[in-house]
Amino acid sequence: MWFQVLVHELTEKCWDKCMDRPSTRLESRTEGCITNCVQRFIDSTNFVANRLQKVAGQH
């Protein structure tokens, strides 16, 4: 279930970041942007979690 929730969230965010004018197909530049968007989102999530853990450990 959470998978679905996250896919919805990511679709919305990545659409906003990557989509210019909708055309008759998903252009390869847009596809690349969306793929990067998903990967960088996961990287960011991991980064935030790891750093927070580190920072929390110092206090």
């Binding site: 998978f3 919305e12 909708p22 998903l26």
Partner: protein, 90 residues
């Protein structure tokens, strides 16, 4: 359902309940997709609202919906394979 308040659910009642919950999730999921798609495509396609939806606006909306679905599918595939990759490294 009185039996829900007493000892708990029988396994068939539990199964029915789970099916209902799953169905609710599918419905909520579809609703979410519909809402988001509507919002995004309205933003992209209706720039100067007229007294009706003209044919170019309708064409834009249809195309936008298809592209939004493409986006959803791509996100789903990318996310799935990334999850799989992370799992394989653990």
């Amino acid at each position: 359902m009185d039996s829900m308040r007493s000892e708990g659910l029988s396994s068939s009642q539990r199964e029915d309940l789970m099916d209902q919950v799953k169905q609710q999730i599918v419905i909520a999921n579809t609703q979410e997709l519909l809402t988001k798609m509507g919002e995004k495509c309205f933003s992209k396609c209706i720039t100067k609202p007229g007294s009706s939806l003209d044919s170019s606006e309708q064409k834009c909306l249809a195309m936008c919906m298809d592209r939004y679905m493409d986006c959803w599918n791509l996100v789903s595939r990318t996310y799935t394979s990334r999850l799989q990759r992370e799992k394989n490294f653990q």
